[in-house]
């Protein structure tokens, strides 16, 4: 089509290219330009070169937010994929329950992130449902101020994201399970493989494509998390959940003098997301190729 009727091909491509250029490329280029200025959000600004980038390299708030964002991503990527995998295996082994439960596990994904955050804000409040339930079942010692304690706040935020997207991850792993040739699993069983051996030696290697997708998606999603810490802690207590996205938001919208600096941090986050996702994809694709 492209070589035979190039004008028609271009005609088909044009709407998508226009939308992409207008809503993705233009803001990106404009943002990059703004990050090289001292703009406070108004029409007047001065070009200051790489000053904002030099500043963020030495900014302890950026260092702390980067570390917290990475910690958050590690928690979410590991637990979301672990629970998703366990759920997928359970569903794979129960074909009758699969259709109903397979749909139900996707329900949290349909809830808006902001709404999920508000729900958990009430559930995990000091006098919320979780603490009351712990008291009811005789475990008052486990009651905790989940979002008010720096040691539990980040994990408590991650719990919301994990709750929301575990079903989604499980669905991808389940698709991977359903693609495994049945004869391989049966051969393993006939040869006397235990359940663990079957998982480790047959299922896990053959789930490699699903793992690549799940890890990459959860990594990108967790590195650019915003709604959950914004609603649940606003970066607190004492900055212990101040992720890079929150820092960008506070710099750009709460401190006019840091508008351009906030955009520079946003570009740093973009680099972090792209590099991390690229490394994860390359490593996991290489693993797929080895298998």
């Amino acid at each position: 089509m492209i070589t035979k009727r190039p004008l028609v091909a271009i005609g088909f491509l044009l709407p998508a290219l226009t939308a992409y250029g207008l809503f993705t490329l233009y803001p990106l280029v404009r943002g990059l330009w703004l990050s090289l200025t001292d703009s406070s959000g108004g029409p007047r600004s001065n070009f200051i070169g790489l000053e904002n980038y030099r500043r963020l390299i030495f900014d302890p708030d950026v260092h702390s937010a980067t570390l917290i964002t990475i910690q958050y991503a590690v928690i979410v990527v590991v637990l979301q994929n672990l629970f998703g995998l366990l759920l997928a295996r359970a569903l794979f082994e129960r074909p009758h329950a699969r259709r109903v439960i397979g749909t139900l596990v996707l329900l949290p994904t349909l809830v808006a992130p902001l709404m999920s955050s508000f729900i958990f804000s009430y559930l995990l409040a000091p006098d919320g449902a979780l603490n009351r339930m712990l008291a009811l079942i005789g475990l008052p010692g486990l009651q905790h101020v989940w979002y008010g304690d720096p040691t539990t706040a980040l994990a408590s935020i991650a719990a919301v994201q994990i709750w929301m997207y575990t079903g989604y991850t499980a669905t991808i792993f389940l698709a991977g399970y359903l693609a495994i040739p049945r004869e391989l699993l049966e051969a393993g069983r006939i040869d006397g493989a235990t359940s663990w051996q079957q998982f480790r030696l047959i299922e896990w290697p053959l789930l490699a494509p699903s793992l690549t997708v799940c890890v990459t998606l959860s990594l990108i999603g967790s590195l650019r998390v915003f709604e959950f810490p914004f609603v649940l802690t606003n970066g607190g207590p004492a900055g212990s959940t101040m992720t890079l996205t929150l820092l960008i938001f506070n710099s750009t919208f709460h401190a006019a003098s840091k508008f351009a600096y906030g955009i520079a941090i946003a570009f740093a986050l973009l680099v972090l997301v792209v590099v991390s996702a690229a490394i994860a994809t390359v490593v996991l694709r290489a693993r797929e190729a080895r298998i």
Partner: protein, 414 residues
């Protein structure tokens, strides 16, 4: 042929004249439509704006209002910023805080310094609505931030009046606790509650000259050390559990908890008055008592929103009429009564809210301080301050270390 040409020429001329006339209509028309952006007047938070706008249209029948009420917050701020930047904004825009200053600085608003009502604006609040000495907004409402006291809980603890000094406050808190109630709630999950308590107590304990001195490069936060120590004293004496407060949301959970009637004192803003009244809570709203025995606390205020006029508005005269109408004492009183605020004009009446008499009397007597959003407390300081205070309340840093840390947060004049 000539006739045909002449007729064609006539038609073309007539069409051209009609087009030119229609393009000129908005400027020539007697009926003007004024677009107003506001975050007051949304469903559930009408603030009497629909009624006030009807009064305006009745008084100025040649001006039609297109009043657009949007929920307050970042989305509203982003909308007005983007539209102003694009040169296509509303004629009259409600703005507040550092955004108001920043947009004024960027030349988006009309200078209102010479408007007749401008001379009556309280001198103390002018800086919040000005840039380089020029007034860019009509101050709409001053909002008190202080302490709500549940008088029924206080009575149950055998106390008849709201304490006014620190020793009396500690005594009242201890009695309330002994009676089985929660002494005080300062929800601080977002860092706002702690910051407001700090500023509230500071308005009594810190000399009123400190803010200007600090802004001009003199002094430091060691002056605030007694405030920080008193905040920690509450926890040390078991009168508040700051760690628990850090898990409670100031806005979505604090009000509900106080309305349950289990807490004696609650630090919040006077915008909650109507809600508490609607729920028949027997309350008093006062300043946070922080001073030595026998002293009276100074009330703490936040200069809220103001009406601005877009510099690119084609209807500046009509917009000025609208703003002047809103500044009229009788109209202002309607709004202030509905929205729970105090006037920022000299000699203008403020609503006589039940339960707020003491607070109002202090304000009327000039015994108040305003949140210094135009000087050291501007431009993102609140978030950083709230975070540092949370670190202290968690015991991560001492009050002395906090005072030092705040020196790197507070703004100084450039």
């Amino acid at each position: 042929m000539k006739d045909l040409m002449r007729r064609k020429a006539t038609i073309l001329l007539a069409a051209g004249a009609a087009i030119m006339l229609s393009a000129a209509v908005p400027a020539l028309s007697a009926d003007q439509t004024l677009t107003v952006y506001s975050f007051k007047g949304t469903p559930g938070q009408e603030a009497d704006m629909p009624a006030i706008n009807k009064l305006f249209e009745a008084e100025y029948p040649d001006i039609k209002l297109n009043y657009v009420a949007l929920p307050a917050g970042t989305a509203y701020e982003s909308k007005i910023q983007v539209e102003l930047l694009a040169g296509k904004s509303a004629d009259v825009i409600m703005a507040q805080g550092t955004q108001l200053t920043q947009l004024s600085k960027n030349g988006y608003f009309v200078d209102l310094s010479s408007e007749p009502w401008a001379a009556n604006v309280l001198e103390q609040v002018k800086p919040f609505f000005s840039y380089e000495g020029q007034l860019y907004a009509m101050p709409l409402l001053g909002s008190g931030i202080g302490m709500f006291t549940n008088m029924d809980v206080l009575a149950a603890a055998g106390i008849t009046s709201v304490p006014t000094d620190w020793p009396g406050f500690l005594d009242a808190l201890a009695k309330v606790k002994a009676a089985g109630y929660t002494p005080i709630a300062v929800p601080d999950k977002l860092g706002w509650g702690g910051a407001m308590t700090f500023l509230n107590m500071g308005s009594t304990l810190v000399p009123s000259t400190w803010a200007d001195d600090y802004w001009n490069g003199k002094g430091d936060f060691s002056t605030w050390l007694p405030v920080l120590q008193q905040m920690m004293e509450l926890d040390q004496k078991g009168l508040i559990n700051w760690k628990e407060q850090l898990g409670v949301d100031e806005f979505s959970q604090g009000l509900g908890n106080f309305k349950q009637g289990k807490t004696a004192f609650w630090v919040q803003g006077m915008w909650n008055i109507s809600d508490l009244k609607a729920n028949n809570i027997n309350f008093q709203f006062t300043a946070v008592p922080a001073g030595p025995a026998g002293s009276s606390p100074k009330v703490f205020m936040y200069a809220g929103a103001g009406w601005t006029i877009s510099a690119t508005s084609p209807n500046i005269d009509a917009a000025k009429k609208y703003v002047a109408f809103q500044a009229r004492p009788d109209i202002s009183l309607k709004y202030l009564t509905a929205d729970g605020g105090l006037s920022m004009f000299k000699g203008a009446p403020s609503p006589a809210f039940e339960g707020v008499e003491t607070f109002n009397a202090s304000y009327g007597a000039g015994d108040f301080s305003y949140m210094a959003t135009s000087t050291w407390f501007g431009d993102g300081v609140q978030e950083a301050l709230g975070s540092k205070l949370q670190a202290m309340l968690l015991g991560q840093i001492t009050p002395e270390e906090t005072a030092k840390a705040l020196d790197s947060i507070g703004l100084r004049k450039q």
